[in-house]
């Protein structure tokens, strides 16, 4: 089982290859969309590369769930994520920093959940599960 640092380095390489960004742009807090410029197709590319680089299987929607806000109309009210929405996000994105979103639950902040750190956390738990 690789260390967190080793996973981070490999995740960084993955993102450099997938997004054409520089090493130093890929910080733990960097958001994939906002900071690193990832577009929808890039998320699929990232999943492909993570699978190859870490020899894991990532089922569709496991790392990047689709239609997060639209899944249930009770999750969003007046542009804010509701408590049930936050609870849903905690369940579907267990590796993301939901606490920060809960402090300022604007819908437009949802994409900021997808950070480099989230991917590192995801891979770490994935590798631990596969033992």
């Amino acid at each position: 089982m690789p260390t967190t640092e080793e996973i981070y380095v490999k995740v960084r390489e993955t993102l450099v290859d997938a997004l054409g960004v520089d090493d130093d742009e890929v910080t733990a807090e960097a958001t994939l969309g906002g900071d690193l410029g990832a577009e929808s197709i890039d998320f699929l590319d990232i999943v492909f590369r993570l699978e190859k680089n870490f020899s894991v299987k990532i089922p569709r929607g496991e790392l990047f769930p689709e239609n997060l806000a639209a899944a249930d109309s009770s999750f969003v009210e007046d542009g804010m994520v509701t408590e049930s929405g936050i609870a849903e996000l905690r369940q579907r994105l267990p590796h993301a920093d939901i606490d920060t979103l809960a402090a300022n639950p604007k819908v437009e902040n949802i994409p900021d959940l997808f950070t480099v750190q989230m991917i590192v956390n995801f891979v770490e738990s994935k590798l631990a599960d596969e033992g």
């Binding site: 997938a18 054409g20 197709i41 890039d42 699929l44 590319d45 492909f48 699978e51 569709r60």
Partner: protein
């Protein structure tokens, strides 16, 4: 003119790899502008040829049940060029196939000379997707017309007397 940038398949190993050729000719209008006095096949059209080779290879894995579109070209390098009279050979290898799409590694050669190499990412679209109507049909990797390239060669090479000749 049809948007078909490969002439025929010379190898096709389902789910694994495929080779297609493209014969370049001065009958192609764009070569007179690209460039005047120095006709070379545009790199963008080589990417299209590689995408058509790889897209058919991927689409065939599920009998063309899903629409395959070229979504991303993460890497492409051009090492040389190809001129009228040259035959480009595109070799596509399927490196990943998933429910959402697939990845193809492709190289282009003229004879033994490496001309280009590319990594191509395709996604599958559901034919029943209501948003499909908004998508430009030209971006589809295969269509009924493009698939006709699979029929090329069925007429034979002319060495055997055909039914019509008799």
């Amino acid at each position: 003119m049809r948007w078909i940038w490969i002439d025929r398949f010379i190898e096709f190993e389902s789910g694994s790899h495929a080779k297609a050729i493209k014969n370049i000719t001065l009958a192609e209008e764009h070569l007179h502008d690209h460039f005047p006095g120095f006709a070379v096949m545009p790199g963008s059209l080589m990417i299209e040829g590689m995408a058509q080779t790889g897209g058919i290879l991927l689409g065939e894995t599920n009998q063309f049940e899903q629409i395959v579109i070229l979504a991303k070209v993460p890497n492409v390098s051009f090492h040389s060029w190809a001129c009228p009279g040259d035959t480009l050979t595109y070799t596509a290898k399927l490196t990943d196939v998933r429910e959402e799409g697939g990845v193809v590694q492709c190289v282009a050669h003229v004879g033994d000379r490496l001309v280009a190499e590319a990594e191509l990412i395709f996604v599958h679209l559901d034919r029943d997707d209501p948003e499909l109507g908004a998508i430009d049909q030209k971006s589809f990797v295969f269509s009924t017309n493009l698939l006709s390239v699979l029929d090329v060669g069925r007429a034979g090479d002319g060495s055997a007397p055909s039914r019509l000749a008799g």
